[in-house]
Symmetry: none
Subunit: 558 residues, 2 copies
């Protein structure tokens, strides 16, 4: 037993100690563009540069001027940023001077204050992929960097395949870095291009490179996530002495992505030993915008945000386990490694078949229902929720349906609004008078109003175009919300915005779960769930819940 | 310069050296169930246990018997596995004996050969969350483990919040582990419950625990991904001496997920220094099923597979960057850290039409179609497949539909069998004569036979019971396969076995993709796909493909 762990006595942690500066180099607009399915427009690039600048990264690598029209356009009118705008390119080719290399010229012509050139450092690649001598390649690096510096720019060398190169021929790999420094490079960045190097090895090699004479203050790290360790590899490099970190927002990038700055930034700012030792250009205030920046990028690219994303994901602070949820209610630090508000995120305590009573009480409080601890109705409601979840309902994804169920069970649903007497929906494929194939859906719904009386509504979508939703659920939804008598006014601004289907048991005993997302004119969004052996029937139940919830929220009576 | 890196001379790498055994403990069915939006059915749990067992993990933690109906059902008839089936629970509560604790009794009554109990090791949690004395908690651990061992079971202690506990009060945290070992525990597993501990710290603390007297061979690690370092943290623990790794398939789990076994397994088997030092229960052959296991789990849970997932993702070996793609064609090792075939994955070079065509030829060969390299029809078919995949079709999951499309486009579909003239399907909810609510679906389908003549078939399911499929797709399927004239005999043994729905674009422009799995009397299984703005129409197209493919395979003519 050696008493308290050493980090408690780390001298750098003392109040007022000078922190070392780490530099964040964002390559979302360059390496992030290599993500399968991602193709930025110039406008999107400008918006993303704005997000990055607001966050406070030090360098924004905007793309490769000359390599494609989008990147060239972007640099033609590059946004003004506090961050240092950087153009990417490659070292000059052999057999011509740096001044006469047109590819390099296009990069310099972008006029950015900073330039990052990729150069090879692995002997195998020089000989195999470039087909030039080792000496020629080294001279290409030196001369290209010197040319960039001669134009008064900041120069970064992206040392491609550095770790594999080091393992194969460390003398040659090191000599390439030295050539860049001789040319005046401000930074040499060790790239794990194939993403196969594990964190322990990255840390060891970075340490060896520094011991061989490359100053840590000029050393950067560029990791890929092919072994799911890009964040850990970057941290290992920092611990070994590197001071620039390259990465992307949301971990975009070639293959499995680059080191994820959305994770690295809060780790460096909030977690020990980093928080006490280092500082970055990201302020505590800007950090609160992290979740929003991540979400905005997903929206720009029309990607579904990853719920499980560290720090910023919708599930990152969701406590589903019953034991966890009950402790969280006593003290959030029991199951949270940071306060979610620091990164602009929030705690979620969803309902599920794992939940205990304290989870349930918390969940009820969120929808404005107070029930005393120990109230016998809690146990009954919990049993009901568990039974229904075993049948296929999923209340953690459908909070509005949960609220309706709870109010009903607790006797708090004073108004019933309406009952559905019957519905009927038809989908048909046939030829129209012109002989064209058409798909038609129609629905009729009959409703008994709580205040007395019935309404019957009909909807048919005839001659659907490709843009129009020709499905039975849409037809039912329109018919149901067409004439609800005295409630009609309140639901006129209700809109079905998404619809998710899941078969919860394979084969013939299939039960279908439908989750519907709704929206209204006040910008509220809510989700409801329906379950049935019939997909249409499951959808209909979710639709009815959606309307009931809105009537409840808008204070309808009857 | 110190010559070659040390690992080349690692004595453990010599031929014939004895490798140390690492044990893989899978908790997909327990901690994985804490994933937001995941609610396994008992049937799904059985299927997942089968996947895990085929892969070769050592332990399968099936759930918490007694905590919810699904887990209790699962253990009532637990599948027979090669892996050691393990029940999860918690240590006994204070104030009663282990023998008289009903929660613990429910866990033991599941009758598994192995039991994993969670116990607290962080003084703060014992006092704050449990409200008992430190000594009471320690005795709860010892007595519970001893009780499990007295029943002849293998015993694991999940040491909750161990790393935070160690940092706060290492004497107490260690004494809890020692209490478990005193009770006879086979394994004590250090859990980073809040997921906040970074890899370097995990490695250091595991080393300190071993130095304090806990044998590494009894030490496990359980990491969460809240800082995106769960894989790296697990590796750091192994390097420090831990020999059991807990994790989940596809990194499912509470909040940001657990350590991802889908990444850890290939890293341990294929990457140095692990490959030379350690062995697991996963064989090189089983590893080739990794991608499929990952994909099957996603399909069971109706989750969209993560393209960027290391090793198994669709983008994991996709080379989009122009420089990379051209080098890859010269030599795949230039930009790949492992051979994708080792994990059952494949290389994708999206920018290269050349690679696209050889990929396509390979797929055609799989369904028995030979096309010469350079045949102009390959390019046309490739364009068609790309266009339809952009519309929402997914031919990777629907090989039978791919084959039909290819044969049609290549002019190899000599028989057309039948055309659908029209269909109509109705779903209705109404009250029957007794006033009971019933759900009825009916369908009518008119088909023109290739040999001449028409058939019209009708099906209605009246008074459906809960066991019967009351949905519109089932009604259409029965009507379509009721009278296909001369083909009827061939399709009498056709059965619809599964049905999966995905909305491929959210909101009003939603397109629905339906994938249908079929089976016949000869035990063949095949999958077909349909896409439409109307879910019924998409299903119908997939049904028609399913029947056509069977007629083709059974050699029908006409």
């Amino acid at each position: 037993m050696r008493g308290l762990p050493p980090r408690i006595f780390d001298p750098r942690r003392r109040r007022g100690a000078v922190k070392e500066r780490l530099y964040l180099f964002d390559t979302t607009l360059r390496d992030g563009q290599q993500t399968q399915g991602v193709d930025f427009s110039t406008g999107e690039k400008r918006k993303i540069a704005g997000l990055l600048d607001a966050l406070g990264v030090d360098y924004i690598e905007g793309g490769w001027p000359g390599a494609n029209p989008t990147d060239s356009d972007f640099f033609e009118d590059a946004p003004k940023t506090r961050a240092t705008m950087t153009a990417f390119g490659m070292t000059k080719r052999a057999g011509r001077s740096a001044e006469n290399d047109d590819v390099l010229a296009a990069v310099l012509n972008a006029g950015t204050p900073s330039v990052c050139l990729v150069g090879k450092t692995h002997d195998f690649h020089v000989e195999r992929a470039l087909g030039i001598t080792l000496e020629e390649n080294r001279e290409n690096i030196r001369a290209s960097v010197a040319h960039v510096k001669a134009q008064g720019r900041e120069a970064h060398l992206d040392a491609e395949h550095f770790f594999d190169g080091w393992k194969a021929n460390r003398v040659y790999a090191l000599s390439c870095l030295m050539a860049a420094l001789e040319g005046g490079a401000d930074w040499v960045v060790l790239c794990d291009t194939n993403g196969g190097t594990l964190p322990a090895e990255i840390g060891r090699i970075v340490g060896e490179v520094i011991a061989a004479g490359v100053p840590g203050g000029k050393l950067g790290i560029h990791c890929h996530n092919d072994t799911e360790t890009a964040v850990a590899g970057s941290l290992a490099a920092v611990e070994a002495g590197a001071r620039q970190i390259q990465g992307t927002l949301n971990g975009l990038g070639e293959r499995c992505g680059n080191a994820n700055l959305t994770t690295l930034i809060p780790t460096l700012l909030l977690k020990e030993p980093y928080a006490s030792r280092y500082e970055t250009g990201v302020s505590v205030e800007a950090l609160k915008g992290l979740r929003r920046a991540s979400r905005t990028l997903d929206e720009l690219l029309n990607r579904v945000p990853m719920k499980q994303a560290p720090y910023v994901g919708a599930s990152a602070f969701a406590h589903k386990a019953g034991l966890h949820a009950s402790a969280i209610l006593k003290d959030p630090t029991t199951y949270e490694h940071i306060d979610p508000a620091l990164v602009g995120n929030e705690r979620v305590v969803p309902m599920s078949n794992q939940a205990g009573q304290s989870n349930l009480r918390h969940r009820l409080e969120e929808v404005g229902i107070e029930v005393d601890r120990g109230d016998a109705r809690l146990g009954q409601l919990l049993d009901l929720v568990k039974t229904r979840e075993a049948q296929g309902y999923a209340y953690d994804s459908a909070q509005a349906s949960f609220e309706l169920l709870a109010r009903e069970e607790l006797g708090l649903m004073t108004h019933h609004f309406f009952d559905v007497e019957r519905y009927r929906v038809i989908s048909e494929r046939r030829r129209n008078a012109k002989g064209e194939l058409v798909i038609v859906s129609e629905a009729v719904v009959t409703v008994a109003l709580a205040g007395g009386g019935q309404t019957t509504s009909f909807y048919q979508n005839e001659n659907p175009t490709e843009q129009e939703d020709a499905g039975p659920v849409n037809a039912l939804s329109v018919a149901l919300s067409k004439d609800l008598g005295p409630y009609q006014e309140l639901i006129d601004d209700w809109r079905l915005v998404d619809f998710k289907v899941r078969i919860t048991n394979g084969g013939t005993e299939a039960v279908t779960r439908v989750i519907i997302d709704s929206e209204d004119g006040q910008g509220r969004r809510w989700s409801t769930v329906g379950v049935s052996a019939n997909i249409v029937d499951a959808s209909f139940d979710a639709l009815v819940d959606a309307i009931r919830w809105k009537l409840l929220r808008d204070g309808a009576t009857g």
